[in-house]
Symmetry: C2
């Protein structure tokens, strides 16, 4: 009758919720949505399945929270680039485009996560709202960068240009995530910066080395 239960430690609520969210994203990234069962997620987080229900009313709520966290992270990665970018509008735009087309933004796992949650978006209004917000947020960021460029452009033109530039970036991002071996180092960045420049009628390529002295290596201080 000597039941040896699994020993455990009590953790702060924030920590446990975060651990469960991280485990959810990890499971989805590795094996798709179907492998992200409550049991698998819990095991990944180092807890038992029942605990999920203690922090989330249902599995769907956990998934929604994970999606929101993912989107927040991607948005944060984008704006982080801007805060560290130079002041010259041309260099700023170049740095933004370049950062969007290399790791950690370009990442096979990121696309899997994005695609997996996209179908949930179709059903769950909360996730749909999160999606639209993030999506248009990125485009607005781009439009602001375009508006700051030298030269006169009315707002209608700015919007059209932002839509076009956003599309190039998204398309290249997808290709880079799906077929990472199909492109040479820095090729996506080069194509992206050149194309955005062509759409806007300016030469951005000359700002590439200024905006980013080390175009192929991700920041080395990756995880804390």
């Amino acid at each position: 009758m000597a039941l040896d239960r699994k020993p455990y430690r009590r953790e702060a609520e924030d920590k446990r919720r975060q651990a469960l969210v991280d485990a959810t994203l990890a499971m989805v990234a590795e094996g798709g949505a179907q492998s992200a069962t409550v049991r698998a997620i819990a095991q990944r987080a180092g807890v038992t399945a029942g605990l999920i229900r203690h922090y989330f009313q249902s599995k769907d709520q956990l998934v929604t929270a994970a999606y929101r966290h993912l989107m927040d992270r991607m948005t944060a990665e984008s704006s982080a680039v801007l805060s560290a970018a130079p002041r010259d509008p041309l260099a700023r735009l170049t740095a933004f485009v370049a950062a969007s087309l290399k790791p950690p933004v370009v990442d096979p796992e990121a696309l899997i996560l994005w695609a997996t949650f996209l179908q949930e978006t179709h059903r769950d209004p909360a996730m749909k709202a999160t999606h639209a917000q993030t999506y248009l947020g990125f485009r607005d960021m781009l439009q602001a960068l375009i508006a700051a460029l030298p030269g006169e452009r009315d707002e209608v033109s700015q919007r059209r240009l932002a839509i076009a530039c956003n599309a190039v970036i998204d398309g290249l991002w997808m290709e880079g995530c799906l077929l990472p071996e199909a492109f040479a180092r820095g090729e996506l960045v080069s194509i992206g910066v050149t194309s955005v420049g062509a759409i806007l009628g300016i030469d951005l390529a000359q700002h590439l080395h200024l905006a980013d002295p080390n175009p192929s290596e991700p920041v080395p201080d990756a995880a804390s």
Copy 2:
């Protein structure tokens, strides 16, 4: 003891397989992958679940067949435009871009289906091969159109330009599928043609009305 079985009709193999594939796509489009169970698919196709195993060795094979059918359909819709397009290279490219950015290619269901199968791609080698084949096939089509344009371009440039133009089209396609209400009629086509022209350094917009006299209306003979 009077068991009244469901009455049925025997059908040709092609018809039944196609019906099952169509039902699979319909279920995935409506409720995501998780709602596409063998029972639901069979019910949608008007048969019982056991029949699936009579035509496919497993559910995975049915899903793979459905994915291949979807990709073939999308590719066919794009290349169909080319066979009816004029001979002038500029007009041909314009028609191709325009057709890729309006119905039936741009369609919310299409994106959901694409995104859903994308995660399977990550696991199943057969689906990954189908994906890469379709993906690069579309880009090669684009590169051939670019190569036919007036002006000298070496193959390296052609490849880079094809990658960039493909990215714009993909990105706009995604936005159009995700937020159909965010764009005016014909706006995506207009932006796409203008942007592709800008990337290639030529003016395509003037060929838009020639290439497609009715840019916003899908063909009216939709379903038979």
